[in-house]
């Protein structure tokens, strides 16, 4: 048994690499899209606000799994053929983007209105107000929930195994299919996910502390 599992380790490592790669892509893409849409939600014209609000509430109201299937099976049906890897990244990114929008709204909303007004009074343009007044203050409010959400991205990525993508979850299932050692491998897999996520959450706690010196 030990020999079989040791033999499978390089294969599992490849799966883990894919899991991390998917998570990284999702985190980066959703950060960009979420911040842009979040700014649209807070400062945009009313139709844009509504559009972002509906997007975010819809995405956050359905299971990730449904979103993944919708994107994976639905896009080819309307004539858009994405490789399954990118369909999975797209679905997970949509999901994470909705979360980032809400983190941003919460962080920006926590900055007193007087800050914006003072910035306007000294003649800063909208971009300058965001760049020099709002974002630097909102940043430390945004950081803790966002970093906590990174482990969600890693956990959520396990669902892409259902699309036949050989991430860590799928790699484990494939090794079990060959060796019939279900329990040891699931426990090993759980420990690997645990190690990755626990390390991330420890790092996030440290980072939070790093930014906690700015208290009002």
């Amino acid at each position: 048994m030990i020999g079989q599992i040791a033999y499978a380790l390089p294969f599992l490592a490849q799966g883990l690499a894919l899991t991390l790669w998917v998570s990284l892509l999702v985190v980066v893409f959703s950060l960009i899209a979420g911040v842009i849409m979040g700014v649209g939600l807070v400062y945009g014209p009313v139709p844009l606000r509504w559009a972002v609000r509906i997007f975010s509430d819809t995405i956050r109201g359905i299971p990730i799994l449904v979103l993944i299937f919708f994107v994976y099976y639905g896009l080819p049906a309307v004539g858009l053929h994405l490789p399954s890897f990118w369909a999975a990244v797209l679905a997970l990114t949509l999901f994470k983007t909705a979360q980032v929008i809400e983190y941003l709204r919460g962080a920006v909303g926590s900055i007193p209105k007087g800050q914006s007004e003072a910035a306007m009074a000294i003649g800063l343009t909208f971009r300058q107000r965001l760049a020099y007044v709002i974002f630097p203050q909102a940043f430390r409010r945004f950081l803790p929930p966002w970093i906590n959400g990174v482990t969600d991205a890693v956990k959520g990525s396990a669902l892409v195994s259902l699309l036949g993508i050989t991430d860590l979850m799928q790699a484990i299932n494939q090794v079990i299919g060959r060796t019939y050692e279900a329990m040891p491998l699931y426990i090993l897999g759980a420990l690997i996910y645990f190690a990755v996520n626990y390390a991330l959450s420890l790092a996030s706690r440290r980072l939070e502390k790093r930014f906690s010196f700015i208290r009002e």
Partner: protein
């Protein structure tokens, strides 16, 4: 492009979705009921326990919170019966998994709720001569419940969405019904539109009902 929507086949198989939705709700309700018991017992134990018990409870919480739900579902359904002599249906196995999963999240919710009970209330309980058990039952738990009710509602709604993972072990809940229609009728866009609407409507109806319940509870106590 040029995809023409046709919902006829969805309505013909709508019983799969409707039955699935009811099962999703049932799975969520049973799981959270067990999860609440696990959470309460462990949280009360945690705040009064020594180092060893605390470490064990914390390990359970951290383990569950850092592992994907789908892996836990596989582990309990496919893994556990290979080492322990038990047999259960996919549905029972999923409920057990989701109960353990929600339990881990609820320990944290209840623990922070118990720690947020004002010291003065507990001292007042002592002053009128309540035993520790009475203080827990009549002072700490009711106050804790009022503090944690919103978090409890949110946990329930997210569990309702998590029941979709039961489809991976063929429990015929809503997402499974959607996949069935997807693979058998190929009205893919239609079925996921309908299922999205069903999850959304149910989720927001639950949210509204739970917020009413919270308000009622706050007024009554």
């Amino acid at each position: 492009m040029g995809y023409a929507l046709n919902f006829n086949l969805i309505w013909r198989h709508f019983d799969k979705l409707w039955g699935g939705l009811l099962l999703s709700l049932e799975l969520a309700v049973i799981s959270i009921a067990i999860g609440i018991v696990i959470g309460l017992v462990l949280a009360v134990w945690y705040v009064s326990a020594g180092r060893v018990v605390r470490t064990i409870i914390a390990a359970y919480v951290e383990f569950i919170r850092n592992v994907p739900l789908i892996l836990l579902v596989y582990l309990v359904f496919y893994g556990l019966p290979t080492v322990v002599d038990i047999a259960y249906s996919a549905q029972t196995s999923f409920v057990a998994t989701l109960a353990l999963y929600s339990g881990a999240y609820l320990v944290e919710v209840f623990r922070s709720g118990l720690e947020a009970v004002p010291r003065g209330q507990i001292d007042a309980g002592k002053a009128i001569g309540l035993t520790p058990w009475q203080r827990l039952l009549h002072v700490r738990l009711p106050t804790m419940l009022r503090i944690t009710l919103p978090a409890l509602s949110n946990t329930f709604i997210s569990l309702f969405k998590d029941t979709s993972v039961a489809s991976v072990i063929s429990v015929p809940e809503l997402t499974y019904g959607a996949q069935w229609i997807n693979f058998n009728t190929f009205r893919i866009v239609e079925v996921y539109l309908v299922v999205t609407a069903m999850y959304l409507l149910t989720g927001y109806a639950l949210l509204y009902a739970l917020r009413l319940l919270e308000r009622w509870f706050r007024a009554a106590h």
